[in-house]
């Protein structure tokens, strides 16, 4: 499958330097390459806000791409740009999060479900009672508030579980670790940790300070998945939040360009939970673990039915023409 495709696809992403997002972009590239239908990728990938993403989307419109795959900085904030794109005859696909623009197609990880699933499992592990250390993402980010909804929903189902402390990690490793260590130093009793994807440093902090290993729920990042199998006495679960959703977005865009519209406008990819409390879960974890990946990368590097690239292709992180 050479770069003999016919489409130009634009990509807009607004967080740079974060393992998950890097994987997402690599998945997009790999899928574009694997599909053989894409001649050129036009990627706008930088740290910016909704207004900046509008700028990028409009630049992509100027570049006359056939489709735009976008990880929205905000569901509502880029509506105007997406509308303009549709008007210009461009297929718009939002990945990872929903958007409010009705003409856009959405293929997204279900963030609310992501948090609900993990939190529910955690509270069950805690025996339905006790204190949980709740480590959120970046204050004011829309993915964070979606996850908060899911977490609160699970919390409501377990009236005896209390939040011992709520902090924002800003999705930053160093901050999360420092917060965990400070929290440990306060001596506050706690029975579980729910963290919004910054997970391996939390386990590290628990191990380093020789604190009792309470159940920890994180994401399917390679580092954490490895820890779930290797750290003795650690009980925990990884909830999948595949960065490969980006590849799925490209696939969806290509299907639409080829005239194969999906039944609904929105496709939700449901998260899975891999825990190490049962033999069955352990087997899943073992199958998923991939020590050769960068510890910040989610191990779920492909989504059945939606991505067709090989592991080598996504790891090479090369798009058509590169």
């Amino acid at each position: 499958s050479a770069a003999a495709g016919k489409y130009t696809i634009g990509i807009s992403n607004t967080v740079q330097g974060n393992g998950w997002r890097e994987e997402m972009v690599c998945a997009m590239k790999a899928q574009a390459l694997a599909s053989g239908e894409v001649a050129k990728l036009n990627i706008a990938h930088r740290n910016t806000d909704a207004a900046g993403q509008l700028e990028d989307i409009r630049n992509l419109i100027s570049a006359k791409v056939d489709a735009i795959v976008v990880n929205p900085a905000d569901p509502a904030g880029i509506k105007a740009g997406l509308e303009e794109a549709t008007k210009a005859g461009i297929v718009v696909v939002a990945v990872d999060q929903a958007v409010t623009e009705p003409s856009a197609y959405i293929i997204s990880n279900n963030q609310e479900e992501y948090a609900y699933l993990g939190a529910k499992w955690l509270f069950q592990q805690m025996g339905g009672k006790g204190e949980v250390f709740y480590m959120r993402g970046a204050a004011g980010a829309s993915a964070d508030s979606d996850r908060d909804k899911g977490f609160k929903k699970a919390l409501a189902e377990f009236p005896n579980v209390k939040v011992a402390q709520e902090v924002f990690t800003g999705w930053q490793q160093d901050q999360a670790k420092q917060q965990m260590l400070s929290f440990l130093a306060t001596g506050t009793p706690f029975n579980g940790v729910w963290t919004s994807g910054i997970d391996n440093v939390i386990v590290d902090a628990l191990v380093e300070s020789q604190a009792p290993l309470v159940p920890v729920v994180g994401a399917d990042n390679a580092g954490f998945v490895g820890q779930l199998s290797s750290v003795k006495g650690l009980v925990g679960a990884a909830v999948t939040n595949p960065g490969s959703i980006g590849g799925a977005g490209v696939t969806l865009a290509l299907r639409i360009l080829d005239g194969k519209k999906p039944a609904q406008q929105t496709v939700l990819v449901q998260p899975q939970l891999w825990e190490n409390a049962t033999e069955e879960g352990k087997a899943k974890l073992k199958a998923a673990a991939d020590p050769s990946l960068s510890p910040e990368w989610p191990v779920s590097i492909s989504i059945p039915d939606w991505t067709t690239y090989t592991k080598d292709q996504i790891v090479a992180c090369k798009g058509p023409g590169e």
Partner: protein, 330 residues
Amino acid sequence: MSTSAITPVPFGRRIKRFMADRPLVPLIILLVILVVILQILRPGIVNERWIANTIKFAIPLAILAGCQTMTMLTGGIDLSVGTVATMSAFIMATQIVNQDPAIAFLLAMMPAVLIGLVNGIGVGVFRVHPLIMTLGTSLIGTGCLQVYQRTVIASGAKIPDFLAWLGTGVTPIVGFAFPNALLLFVPLAALIVFTLARTGFGRLLYAVGDNERATRLSGVQYWQVITALYVTSSVLAGITGLLYIGLIKAPSLSLAEPLVLPSVAAAVIGGTSIFGGRGGYTGTIIGALILTVLTTLLTILQMPEGARRILFGLIVLFVTAAYLRIVEER
């Protein structure tokens, strides 16, 4: 002509003058006040483990703040330290997988030296404003790191045991757990303090920041001083990156980026002027400790995130204002 009358000075003024002569004392007092507040809010938190943790996290910040202190003395600033630290950390963690530790170390320090050199030449020879120069090299460095990152996705990463030991380990000495990072930091800090106070190079940093034309007339070659300075700053940032990766143990592409603004803040809180010519490193170290303690303080407060940030801002402002009031003569 030089007879000054010695009149008896009231006690209050004597204390003020004492503090004004030793600006470190009031800073330390402010630090202690913060710790006491912390202890009151969460009795028992100020224990051995907490102290060790605070020191561990304050050290990388303090070293980066040292870079800021030195560059700020010349009227500059080094915004590339975050990128440099991240680069050396990331390169170390990825190269150690297949390379000899010594080679990995050299590879990790290479971008630091290079960026320092480019910064120094840009600022010293081409007279680009340091803020723009270091911002520019930091953008370039980030871009290069992203490109590099793609080539090593498959190779995985590893934290060398030695760095983990240095970053997170503690050594009990007379019943107290001393963070191993102090082994690196104490000599480094002593060296910086000594350099600033007692060496020709240190003198030149102050003088260049104060009046560059005057130093030129005294025979100082600006570009030499500035180039040496920015290379030093970058190398320190590189070392910080290695220490930090040992502490965090998770290489990421934005590892040390969050430390940049606080490093500037620590230097300024510690009494260094961004306009050059004034300041010192000991104040900066306390500044870094104050910021670290403050972060803990806010973490354990049960309040909305917005209110926490407001409080953080207000405390930083208050601490600096109080410090100035105490130190100022008159």
